[in-house]
Chain length 434, copies 2
């Protein structure tokens, strides 16, 4: 089947998915969970073939590790599906209701976006997670996983589609793409695909953003900052900085640049340096930093670099305004924090920093859908429309305006025979469950 | 000043605009209203020059009419500003609040998107309307008006910028572009501009959408449908169809194609024909329509055509399912309605039609921000992310996640020393007004 034909069928199925009720969707998720457990051995076997082939092809050990889908992973994804079943349906929520005139009622009701194009690398458990998120939110999906996981992905996709169809969902709501050429095709199909969600490296996400007219939800860079203000509690500042830098260095919400107020730099930087050195972090500093502590020079390029490693660039700034300007200039709009004892300065920082997540006196590492309590995460968006920061199920829905009348015509209002009431209605859309 | 430099300055000003409080913004709007009234004569004079030049250059009479900015228009735009002042501030609203753990509070708070690029044709009153909407929502804006209105636009923009600066807003929050070459430049500046809002003809909007990586909010086509179901009240159906087609033919929410259930086509179409003929509407029909009433043939091309004229294409369908499929295939996702006496069939139609506005027993012409009671309208979006249907002030904001802690670090949760509470908090973000 061509990608175009696959996209057409997925689009057609998306209409039925949008009308699927909560019970049907939850029962499909339940069947998927059972069927995955029943077919564990087939999944593990396919995965062993993927792992062996990838090893023999010289895939790096950390990537082979991410590729493994064993009994532990199976339990994890099944747990994930179960918690998704427990989450409220994001579709069919009445966001607002207005009485336009007697007998003319307007409802703004959430609905699925339609067709997602999701592209992810290596980990096959992502396939289960993403497809169950799409199902719960009533979206149809074209999926492309990493080619190293292709056999595992095929088995997983087959099980998911079969289980969902048994529950009564249309068989074409999920289709798996397998080659890069197919992804290039998919990126052109803006008539059929409503949103692209890429999960992977910076270069990969940037390539997707540069090569499609379809809106993209995600982030390329995570250049996160921590600003230590003049009146910061310095012990607290060190503790938070260490966590933000070292708790897990290879992630988008780890801090890459630390900014420090000139008034406390002399006291703070030596303490920071010894704490960071203990964890093996290399410091790079601006000239003023290097007058206070020994450190390699940080260049202009460093301010724009996401190290994803045990490296931290440090800059001494004249004050909050300079810190904000640095962050808004070099940051990626992901997550930035301030350490200060003054709530007014925290308020200023939070109003002026143009990022999806702005924190006061805590680690940037909290920027994450699970930690935020969103239940499940589609990804983290640094875009400024639709959804921003960690995106949960809510990011996969939009809304429709539904207007119920009784022969109402605009001519009557134009002729001033009738006039609008525009009173808020305190009720939910009444036709959803008929 | 180059477009790049203008965009840079507007972007910088957008940070200050985002932090501007409700009072400051409303006082700026008040000053703009007064200053426009004070400078009426200068505006009218510039407008007379635009009108004379356009006439002498042979601009069509209806466009010259749209270009006129007289005392009546001035009163209208000032009224518009006053009602905008009365609307609640869309910025700083707490959308949700969660207690992640003791002393660790997460708030999701609305904020401006940032920098808008707005391109509109002929009417200079649109400049006032759009810039005041951007101001109220805390956004900065690059504006390009129709070149035929350039003198009026210059005077209006100068007054607005000056009045806003007097109130305390940054002088660079609004910049006027004047040439098409500048617009082409602007469309490339995705680093500085967050959202493009084009207002104009189909071709114009499609050109913008095809030539920018920046997200576009708006609509190219409005191919709206009315489906008359088997058990429709036929008098009601005719009344609504006449309004939807003829109340104002040149607008995006006028109906272009009528679908009728085969079970009532024989009774309905003759009545429809005589009612439409009375208003000078030409009917084009599918073969089955033409067996019932005389009409020109409707081709495949007709189903995709937005006539914006006294023309209606008509198709007899086998039932609701075929109607939905026709609408989802040929429609533009704008506004589509069903006429039926059965709420269950209305519910099915509303769930299955993939449009921003879906109506039951009323005219498609109600699809409009003012009629919906949104107060002010940025435009109507047929996109499926961010905002859909008529877009008011709410479409010009997004949100930030703001996290308040007290030295919280992720390592404690990873080591299971602490665990998340994830309880909803019933309070607003406390630092906004400090």
């Amino acid at each position: 089947m061509s990608v175009l034909e696959a996209a057409r069928r997925v689009k057609e199925a998306s209409i039925k998915m949008a009308a699927a009720g909560t019970e049907l969707k939850n029962s499909a998720l339940g069947r998927i969970a059972s069927k995955l457990l029943e077919n564990g051995e087939a999944i593990f076997e396919a995965n062993r073939r993927d792992v062996e082939r990838s090893r023999s092809e010289g895939l790096a050990a950390p990537l082979v590790k991410r590729l493994v889908f064993d009994a532990g992973k199976l339990d994890e994804v099944v747990e994930g599906i179960k918690s998704l079943i427990a989450l409220p349906d994001p579709v069919g929520r009445t966001l607002s209701a207005t009485l336009l005139d007697e007998g003319l009622e307007l409802y703004k009701v959430t609905c699925p976006i339609g067709v997602m194009g999701v592209i992810f690398e290596s980990r096959p458990d992502a396939l289960v997670q993403i497809s169950s998120l799409c199902l719960k939110s009533g979206n149809a999906v074209l999926l492309k996983g990493g080619s190293e996981a292709r056999e595992t992905n095929r088995v997983l996709a087959d099980i998911i589609v079969e289980a969902a169809a048994e529950a009564g969902l249309p068989p074409d709501w999920l289709k798996l793409l397998e080659t890069r050429a197919e992804v290039s095709e998919m990126l052109k199909l803006d008539e059929y695909i409503d949103l692209i969600i890429p999960r992977g490296s910076n270069e990969f996400v940037r390539y997707i953003m540069d090569n499609s007219r379809i809106p993209v939800l995600g982030h390329a860079d995570g250049i996160c900052h921590l600003y230590v203000d003049e009146d910061a509690d310095l012990d607290l500042a060190v503790r938070v900085a260490v966590d933000a830098k070292t708790q897990y260095v290879a992630v988008c919400n780890a801090v890459e640049t630390l900014l420090v107020h000139e008034g406390v730099a002399g006291r703070f930087l030596p303490v920071l340096k010894s704490a960071m050195e203990e964890r093996g972090v290399t410091l790079l500093g601006c000239p003023r930093t290097r007058e206070i502590i020994p450190a390699g020079p940080a260049t202009e390029e460093d301010w724009r670099t996401e190290y994803l490693d045990y490296v931290l660039s440090v800059k001494v700034v004249g004050g909050l305004e300079e810190a904000v300007e640095h962050i808004n200039t070099y940051g990626s709009g992901h997550t930035d924090g301030i350490i200060t004892g003054d709530p007014r300065r925290a308020a200023d920082f939070m109003a002026l920093v143009d990022s999806g997540n702005v924190f006061w006196n805590c680690s940037t590492r909290f920027s994450d859908g699970f930690r935020y309590g969103l239940g499940a995460e589609v990804g983290i968006s640094t875009g400024k429309i639709h959804a921003r920061g960690p995106v949960g199920l809510e990011g996969l829905v939009i809304y429709k305006y539904l207007l119920l009348g009784n022969g109402h015509v605009v001519a009557d209002y134009a002729a001033k025979k009738r006039s609008f009431i525009h009173a808020p209605l305190k009720k939910d859309f009444p036709l959803s469950k008929i």
